[in-house]
Structure formats: structure tokens, C-alpha cells
């Protein structure tokens, strides 16, 4: 298939692997963080760790939107789903994430009206066709999904749809990367920057990381050859003592990103502090609806009470998301925490580090 076969070519992959081995040879341990969960999927799904020498460690970062969403958000979504006359619409990943005592999947089995949609516009259409129900869309995700949700809100205004609401927990990308490097708990020698997010925000958005923190950054695509080439580029910077932002994903990412999407986001949302599972509250890392769009804000318009959130005491999702632990360090992993009985969010999403280790890795 075009644009797939070229990026999974065996002989090119072997050539890149040789290049990586050459650049890493004789070096002390190098730690590279792939920020985005989809990169982690690529690494495991294609077995890329087999092609990388032992002194290069790839660390999964906080780039799985479902995983970094705190438990009380899930609890609140569940509380909405229990209300009479309310339909909760969500992207599929969130469906099985455990809250404190239930999940959206379990609520649906109990009779809650919960629908998995591919786009917030599908939820909007459902709201339009079912005027007697309040439809709450769960706005989770990074800059990749936020513009779509913004469009759905504008569209609701344009069509005069009053029963469409959004429950926003959108997050934005560069701040948690800065939090990780300034935290000092973890030594990161280079960032493989998220490709999809970068199509929106542009590769220029990471420049402060390379300038202020002297961290090499490479924006990479999601095919195996993209990731391997991204690693080559990072290792080359490290060897040369460089720190700059390079763009491996030239076929999709520009320096300025997507100005139209950015302007729609800016029109509907404003930057706010936001809580990340494992990382705590990070200043300026989230989005909330601007005042003039509050009519679409589920939290501002429908009140629900939730108990203080609790999660499984042994769960180390937070540390996995920070990159200081791997799923193999968790006493629950594979024994009691499995994709069919997940105790933490990282075991649920297909982008979650624990789910990826469980599904693809033979090493555990």
C-alpha cells in the first residue's frame, strides 16, 4: 500500500539500524523519550527494540491522552452517564478506563446511554436528531483532537443546537515535556516529539526546549522507518553536541503547524492549568472553554456530585507516565492488571504503555 510499504521496507530498516548501532557504539547509556503513545505502539508493534543496541533506551512518555486524564474526570463522566435523559458520547479509548468504582463500559451494561463516536461531529448530529436528550461529548486529547471539538462547538452555535455539551479535559503538549526535563528526576538525552500534535502546533513549538534546556528534539512520523530515522537524527545531534529541533516528518509537519486549526482552537478555548495523572498540575497545560462558549460547557451547566477519586493503591501508572518506571516494575502488571481487568488507565488505551507492553512484548 502506498505510503505504508515504503516506510516498512526491510532493507532500509536494516540500513538505519546499522546507522544507529554505529552512532551509539562506545557511548555511555543514551535515553530517548518518545513522547507520543502512537510512537510507543510503532516501536513495539514492529519490534523496533530488536533493531536498537542495548545502550540506547527508548522511554515512553506522557503522550497517551486517555492515560494522563485523571480518575476524577472518569468518575464525573460516569456520573453524567447515570443521569436521566443524558447521552454520553466518547472516543473509543476512554470507554474501558476504570474510574474509582466503575467504567463507562460497565455503565453501558447497566443501561447508561453511552455511545462511541469517531468524531465530535457525530455526537453533534446525534444531539440534533434527539432534541429531547442532552448529549455530552467527552473532550479528551491533545492538540490533535481539540480543534475538532472546537469546530463542533462552533457548528452547534451555527445550527442553534442547544442540547450539545462538551466535558473538556483537553491538554496541550509542550508544557509536560518541559515539566519532565525541569523536574530533574529523569535524565532525558533527546525527545522524539509527537508527530500528530506537531502537524497542528508546528515543529517551531519545541524550540524553547532545545534552546533553554539544550535537549535535542526530532519530530518524527509513525511508520517504523520514521521512528528509526528519528533515532538516527537524535543520536547524530547527541554525538555532535548539538541541540536543535529537526523535522523528520517533513511530509506532514511544517514549522508553523496548521494556522487554521490553531486559530479555531484559540477562538474557542483558552489556556488553563491542568492536572495530569502522574505529573500533577502543570501550569498552562490544559484548555477550557472561553466565556462566550460556556453555554456548551457540561460542567458549567449540569451539576453532578462525585466522591473523591481513588485508584488502586499498587498502581504505578503515574510513574510509568513520567518515564521513571516501566510496566515491568509494577507488581500488578500481567498478574492482576490486564487489558480485560485494567486497574490503571495505562492498561486500557491502545496507546497506553502498559497495554502496549502487555500486547506486544514477549520480554515480560
Amino acid at each position: 500500500m502506498k505510503y505504508i510499504d515504503e516506510f516498512r521496507d526491510n532493507s532500509l530498516a536494516r540500513a538505519l539500524a546499522r546507522n544507529i548501532a554505529h552512532l551509539a557504539e562506545g557511548r555511555p547509556e543514551v535515553t530517548l523519550m518518545e513522547v507520543c503513545g502512537t510512537h510507543t505502539v510503532t516501536v513495539f508493534k514492529h519490534g523496533l527494540k530488536d533493531l536498537i543496541p542495548d545502550n540506547v533506551t527508548l522511554l515512553a512518555g506522557p503522550g497517551c491522552p486517555v492515560c494522563v486524564t485523571p480518575t476524577d474526570y472518569i468518575d464525573k463522566a460516569i456520573a453524567y452517564a447515570r443521569l436521566e435523559g443524558v447521552t454520553v458520547a466518547t472516543f473509543g479509548d476512554l470507554f474501558r478506563v476504570p474510574g474509582s468504582s466503575s467504567s463507562l463500559e460497565k455503565e453501558r451494561a447497566k443501561g447508561g446511554d453511552i455511545r462511541i463516536v469517531y468524531s465530535p461531529l457525530d455526537a453533534l448530529r446525534f444531539a440534533q436528531e434527539n432534541g429531547n436528550r442532552k448529549v455530552i461529548f467527552l473532550g479528551v486529547g491533545f492538540e490533535t483532537t481539540a480543534p475538532l471539538v472546537a469546530v463542533s462547538i462552533q457548528e452547534a452555535g451555527r445550527r442553534g443546537i442547544r442540547n450539545y455539551l462538551v466535558f473538556i479535559a483537553h491538554k496541550v503538549m509542550p508544557p509536560p515535556m518541559e515539566a519532565l526535563v525541569s523536574d530533574g528526576e529523569l535524565r532525558i538525552d533527546g525527545f522524539l516529539c509527537p508527530g500528530h500534535v506537531s502537524t497542528i502546533i508546528g515543529w517551531g513549538a519545541y524550540r524553547f526546549l532545545s534552546q533553554q534546556y539544550r535537549i535535542p528534539c526530532v519530530v518524527a512520523g509513525f511508520e517504523p522507518l520514521d521512528v528509526l530515522e528519528g533515532i538516527v537524527m537524535l543520536l547524530r545531534q547527541i554525538r555532535n553536541g548539538d541541540s536543535q529541533v529537526e523535522n523528520q516528518y517533513r511530509r506532514a509537519v511544517r514549522e508553523q503547524g496548521n494556522p487554521r486549526a490553531l486559530s479555531i482552537m484559540k477562538e474557542v478555548f483558552e489556556i488553563a492549568d491542568s492536572e495530569w495523572r502522574g505529573l500533577g498540575i502543570i501550569a498552562g497545560s490544559g484548555l477550557t472553554l472561553r466565556e462566550r462558549y460556556r453555554g456548551y460547557d457540561a460542567e458549567a451547566n449540569i451539576e453532578v456530585e462525585i466522591e473523591p477519586a481513588s485508584s488502586h493503591p499498587g498502581c504505578i501508572c503515574g510513574n510509568v507516565l513520567k518515564g521513571v518506571k516501566t510496566p515491568l516494575d509494577c507488581s500488578l502488571f500481567r498478574r492482576v492488571c490486564t487489558p480485560e481487568n485494567p486497574l490503571g488507565a495505562c492498561m486500557v488505551s491502545s496507546e497506553g504503555t502498559c497495554a502496549i507492553y502487555y500486547k506486544y512484548s514477549n520480554r515480560a
Partner: protein
């Protein structure tokens, strides 16, 4: 503690379905024939080796590109018999109809059932109809039970699998699941993807005629190829090695899966079989398969290995390896 409930994922054909069968159904209903958990139960009576199987069909939508629920109800049960090496003889059929179903749709389905049964050379010799109030069912649910006969000498079971056995598939994977999903979700592609729904007894009988070295047949329906292979290795002292490069995946299915974040190895098939056979019989079996319209694309996709036991490992195109686990939960479309 909240009472446990049935989740949709219990019906996905993956690990939850497997656990439900093993833990809830099997212990109280246990008997040696049921315990084989084969696609068809095989037993002897008065010198005859008979096979019986039953399956219920609840697909939404009831009409989809390349088939409908009626055809599926015939082919699916025929295929379960065929996987046991049984020549299908008779079928029974039960309908659960939802109040309000247009009679014309039912007529179309019954006609489709007639054609499918004729194509398979079986008669439907018993039936039942129930109607449930609107909203208590979803248009049409169909159950079919199939009776077949197994020839002397035909022995297909996991016990016959040996290290070194080759694994063959008869064509492109994932088409049924993607056809149904795209129709259900209203997703449109330039080239529509048709379900692969097809009756496989003709193909199987040619394979059985061509070789004594056929060890096991399985149809990778719900849960897809990966789940079926995991069921085969589960608890056994051998593993499976697959070659990603060898997997037949059509361009349309590939594109749809890439877009939706699905893995074609976990997507349902309704006209595919996976055969385990001894290595020196591969050529004769492939030759026989290619003579059948549903076996033209047959090819070897992997082999049985001694280690790691109980696991399915795939060599990826770029040269790495990965574990192929059972499907866990429903395959869900993801955020980004």
C-alpha cells in the same frame, strides 16, 4: 462490590469470551465431547461418525457489502462443520424477529438463505420462529444448527499438531469485519470492502482428498487470525511463528485498519480457514486449495515451533519480533 455483568466485550470472541466459556459454562455442563471446545462436536453412533454444531447470528446491519445475516447463518454453521472435517448434511434454523421488521426484508433474507443452502448442498429440515416486542431484539437474530458426517480416517485435532507443521491460510484477512464495521458506522471508502462470507466445505473436502497430513483446521471468525492462533497454542507445549511479510492483507482492509487504528489480525473473517499440516504435504495441499474458488490465494503464513511454548510470535516486516496476543475487549477506535 458491584455485581459483575455481561459486557459487550464478552461476545467479541477474544479473551473475555474464552474465559466466560471456560469458567462459567463449561464446569456445570462438562462432558468429554463439549470439553474439546472444537468448532464442531464429533461423536460416533452406530458406526457413524457424526458432527454437530450450533451458532447464533446477531450481526448489525443485517445487510452488508458482500452478504447478509441469512447467508452468514448458513455459511457460518457449514464452516464450523467443515473445520471438523465433516460433510454437512442438514441444518435447522431458528428466527427471533423484532416486532416491526418489514416483511419484505425477511423475504429477501429467506431467499438468501435458500440460495446459500442450495450452494452448500444442504437442506434445512427443522425451524422455529419467535417474535419479541420492539426494542427487545434487533431486527433479526438467527440460530442455525448443523449436522454433518465425518469420513473414516479424518482426524483433525490440536493433538495432532507437531513442531515443524506449516500454517496455511486460504486468502485475504479482515474483510468481513471491515465490511460490517464500515457499513454500520457509515464510513465510506472509494472502493467498498466486501465481506468474505463463503462456504468452505468444498475447499476442505478437496484438501482432505489431497492429503493425510492435514492436522487441524480452524476458521478465524470473531477475534480474527491472532485470537484463533492463540487458542491453538494456549496451554500447549508448542508455539507459533508468523511472518508478517507473508500475511495476505488487501489494500482496502489495510487502509481502513490504518485509518481506524485497528489491527487486521484481530478483525473477523467469515470465509477463511487456517490449516496446520505437516511440511512435506504443503505442496499437495496448496495445489488442491488453489483449484477451489475460495482457495486461490492460499499461502503459508507461518509454522509451529517448540519455543516459546504457548505463544504466537510474529517476525515483522522491518525485521523485529512481536508478541501476538489474544484479542482483549472490543477493538475500539482510538483518539489519535
Amino acid at each position: 462490590m458491584e455485581p459483575e455483568r455481561i459486557l459487550l466485550a464478552h461476545g467479541s470472541g477474544g479473551k473475555l469470551s474464552y474465559d466466560l466459556i471456560r469458567e462459567l459454562f463449561l464446569p456445570p455442563l462438562h462432558n468429554p465431547i463439549l470439553a474439546t471446545l472444537a468448532d464442531a462436536a464429533i461423536f460416533s453412533r452406530q458406526g457413524m461418525r457424526l458432527a454437530i454444531t450450533t451458532d447464533s447470528y446477531v450481526v448489525d446491519p443485517i445487510f452488508f457489502p458482500g452478504g447478509d445475516i441469512g447467508k452468514l447463518a448458513i455459511y457460518g454453521t457449514i464452516n464450523d462443520l467443515a473445520m471438523g472435517g465433516a460433510k454437512p448434511l442438514y441444518l435447522s434454523i431458528g428466527f427471533i424477529l423484532e416486532e416491526g421488521l418489514p416483511l419484505e426484508e425477511l423475504r429477501v433474507l429467506v431467499n438468501s438463505i435458500k440460495e446459500a443452502a442450495q450452494q452448500c448442498g444442504v437442506d434445512i429440515i427443522a425451524g422455529d420462529t419467535k417474535v419479541v416486542p420492539r426494542g427487545k431484539g434487533d431486527k433479526v437474530f438467527i440460530n442455525t444448527t448443523g449436522l454433518g458426517v465425518v469420513s473414516e480416517g479424518v482426524e483433525l485435532s490440536v493433538d495432532r499438531i507437531c513442531v515443524g507443521d506449516r500454517i496455511i491460510i486460504n486468502g485475504f484477512i479482515g474483510e468481513h469485519g471491515i465490511a460490517v464495521m464500515t457499513q454500520r458506522e457509515g464510513l465510506e471508502f472509494d472502493t467498498p470492502i466486501n465481506s468474505d462470507a463463503a462456504p468452505l466445505w468444498g475447499l476442505v473436502s478437496q484438501m482432505l482428498d489431497a492429503s493425510q497430513g492435514l492436522h487441524l483446521l480452524r476458521d478465524p471468525t470473531r477475534g480474527g487470525v491472532a485470537t484463533v492462533l492463540n487458542e491453538v497454542v494456549g496451554g500447549n507445549d508448542f508455539g507459533i511463528h508468523l511472518e508478517e511479510e507473508a500475511l495476505p492483507i488487501g489494500e482496502g482492509v489495510m487502509a481502513a485498519c490504518e485509518l481506524l487504528g485497528l489491527d487486521p489480525l484481530y478483525v473477523a473473517n467469515e470465509g477463511k480457514l487456517i490449516a496446520f499440516c505437516q511440511p512435506d504435504e504443503v505442496d499437495s495441499i496448496l495445489t488442491a486449495m488453489k483449484r477451489d474458488p475460495y482457495g486461490r490465494e492460499a499461502k503459508v503464513i507461518g509454522e509451529v515451533v517448540d519455543a516459546p511454548a504457548g505463544k504466537v510470535i510474529m517476525k515483522t516486516r522491518v525485521g523485529g519480533t512481536r508478541l501476538l496476543d489474544m484479542l482483549t475487549g472490543e477493538q475500539l477506535p482510538r483518539i489519535c
